[in-house]
């Protein structure tokens, strides 16, 4: 049974249709990639999955039962953890405090409950080393970590607090090649722990490296969901790039080039050829 299933979900903001008729299934121990160019509706879809928005139409089912999430906190309680692009990490705060924010371990000090920082530091150290991050001091500010390390802490936090589904919103988009590779490694680790990972990205190469299932969004609708065996990377690229638009653009540039024999014209002609090649990849 799928952990999360969206059935024919539509989301409108006033007269603007952000999503139309989206049906998607997330299983345990799988990496499901959500692909699409900017403006495809990926962020709206995540916001629905993580409880920030409610679908205008359609069903949201968790373990087969319909749910209506009214806040990210509710989603979190169900085990749906989202790591947003801004990470929800406070740079001036220590790693330990960030790790346990909102779920601080407590111990009694007479009649009052205090923050058990000793226990918190110990666990933070352990969890981070489990995913291979060695930090000198869990009390150092999160701001001293690199972008990739911060992503890793966010993922480690979600995993520790018992996430069943991990939604990652463009985790590699702002990272260099080496750091991105590290994050992809953690995604795979999470999957092996049995977590269903939703990996949102516009980078087909990253998605191809770790994904089991792919859903491509374009302007609010889905082109379909495909398992890895049913798909090739080039076709995925073509789907995402919107093949028809590229063809049209190539024709237009060609026309301009024919009318203009100058250097600019020759340049346009070359670009048209290149776009044509991308629109019709030889597979």
């Amino acid at each position: 049974m799928a952990i999360i299933e969206l059935k024919d979900v539509t989301k409108s903001f006033g007269r603007v249709n952000a999503l139309r008729g989206i049906s998607v299934k997330i299983d345990a121990a799988e990496v499901h990639c959500l692909l699409g160019d900017n403006g495809a509706g990926k962020s709206t879809l995540i916001k629905i999955l993580s409880g920030v928005h409610k679908p205008t139409q359609g069903q949201y089912e968790f373990e087969g039962k319909p749910v209506e999430l009214t806040s990210p906190r509710e989603a979190l309680d169900l085990g749906i953890a989202t790591v947003f692009q801004d990470l929800a990490m406070l740079p001036l705060m220590s790693i330990t405090r960030n790790f346990f924010l909102g779920r601080e371990p407590k111990k009694k000090f007479g009649p009052v409950e205090v923050f058990d920082s000793g226990k918190a530091s110990k666990i933070t150290n352990e969890e981070l080393s489990k995913i291979g991050i060695k930090i000198r001091d869990p009390d150092q500010a999160v701001g001293t970590l690199s972008g990739g390390e911060r992503q890793a802490v966010a993922i480690a936090r979600a995993v520790y607090f018992g996430a069943r589904v991990l939604i990652l919103d463009e985790p590699t988009s702002a990272l260099g090649v080496k750091e991105a590779a590290v994050v992809l490694k953690y995604i795979v680790q999470a999957k092996t722990k049995g977590i269903g990972v939703i990996f949102i990205t516009h980078n087909v190469h990253h998605a191809w490296a770790v994904g089991d299932t792919f859903t491509v969004l374009n302007r609010g609708t889905s082109y379909g969901t495909f398992k890895k065996g049913e798909m090739t990377r080039e076709r995925l690229l073509q789907m995402m790039a919107g093949g028809e638009e590229l063809e049209e653009l190539a024709v237009e540039l060609d026309l301009i080039a024919k009318r203009d024999p100058s250097e600019a014209g020759k340049l346009e002609h070359r670009v048209a050829e290149e776009l044509d090649r991308e629109a019709h990849p030889k597979s």
């Binding site: 979190l76 924010l101 779920r103 001293t144």
Partner: protein, 329 residues
């Protein structure tokens, strides 16, 4: 090296350095003219206490990312809420004091609720409260007393159960100093040793992210606005009982001095970072400078210029130290 970095990271470091520096400066320049006498020391500690009682709560609110500009007006309003019922309507002081606190908690709640609900900058909302409260204080006082001052409290104070905890001078130190110390210890402990304190940092660092992980940001902010209003009333109570009188202008500009103390003490204006001890040190520095300058030969007309220069220096120092602390290794 790690130990040194741990010290560098503390937001209070700049304030400690500045406090020591200023103390040494005044000791050299004005030590024999009264700065180093017992009386002189108590004098600047008293002034420090008045800033400090406000600064510690203002610091917490600032760390949570908000400002309360209305506390100065609250001091005036609370003072009248105590003095008028007692001197004109014969209320027992303890009842009037409770009234003042109840009023301030209500105003604090209202301020906080407005800020959270409208998502407008607290700067603007509490600026409006500043005028509203001060205006109401003026209007009601003149309507009831036909005068801008209420005096003669002294005769009603003996034997009242609450008066004792807000007045007097145990061990020669005015009660305001004891309250200052107590508030610093308690609030400092809350900030660093409780989950609630963590939430204060989170609310100021990134309220949205905090809310997303389940921190009750609205509740935290509203409670902190109630705290600032309450400490303003605490100060007003101490002052009214001490001087036996109050006037409609009491507390004017106190909010700026409290914010200045907090900032000198290393609290970030943008929130998410700071400490209560720092704010207390900032208040101490402000008190030392405000009173210390009178023991020197410097013309008091230059006082404001000196204070401004100090504020700038303290902020620059704190900024530099913080950048060192956050440098990626």
């Amino acid at each position: 090296m790690a130990a040194l970095r741990k010290v560098l990271v503390r937001p209070e470091l700049g304030a400690v350095i500045a406090a020591i520096g200023i103390f040494v400066f005044f000791s050299i320049v004005a030590g024999t003219r009264g700065f180093l006498t017992a009386q002189g020391t108590i004098n600047y500690l008293e002034v420090g206490a008045e800033h400090g009682i406000l600064a510690v709560s203002v610091a917490l609110l600032m760390i949570a990312g908000e400002f309360d500009l209305s506390i100065g007006s609250m001091i005036g309003a609370a003072g009248m809420l105590i003095a008028i019922p007692v001197t004109k309507f014969g209320w027992p002081p303890w009842l009037a004091i409770l009234l003042a606190f109840a009023f301030s908690l209500a105003v604090g709640y209202f301020n906080g609720w407005l800020v959270v609900k409208t998502r407008l900058p607290s700067f603007i909302i509490t600026l409006a409260s500043l005028y509203l409260l001060r205006g109401l204080t003026f209007g009601l006082t003149i309507a009831l007393l036909n005068y801008t001052r209420a005096s003669g409290m002294g005769t009603y104070l003996s034997g009242d159960p609450l008066v004792a905890i807000f007045s007097g001078a145990p061990l020669g130190l005015k009660i305001s100093i004891w309250w200052w110390a107590g508030l610093t210890l308690v609030l400092g402990w809350v900030l660093f040793r409780t989950p609630y304190g963590n939430w204060i940092f989170a609310a100021g660092g990134d309220a949205l992210a905090a809310r997303n992980v389940g921190v009750p940001v609205a509740r935290v902010k509203i409670s902190l606005f109630m705290l600032t209003a309450a400490t303003a009333t605490l100060l007003a109570t101490i002052q009214v009982l001490d001087t036996g009188s109050t006037d409609v202008l009491r507390g004017e500009l106190a909010e700026l001095e409290a914010i200045a103390s907090a900032v000198i003490g290393g609290n970030l204006l943008t929130g998410g970072y700071g400490s209560v001890i720092g704010a207390t040190l900032g208040a101490l520095i402000l008190g030392m400078v405000q009173q210390g300058i009178f023991y020197t030969n410097i013309d008091t007309n230059w006082f404001k210029a000196v204070l401004g220069a100090m504020l700038l220096a303290a902020v620059l120092l704190n900024n530099y130290l913080r950048q060192q602390a956050l440098r990626s290794r």
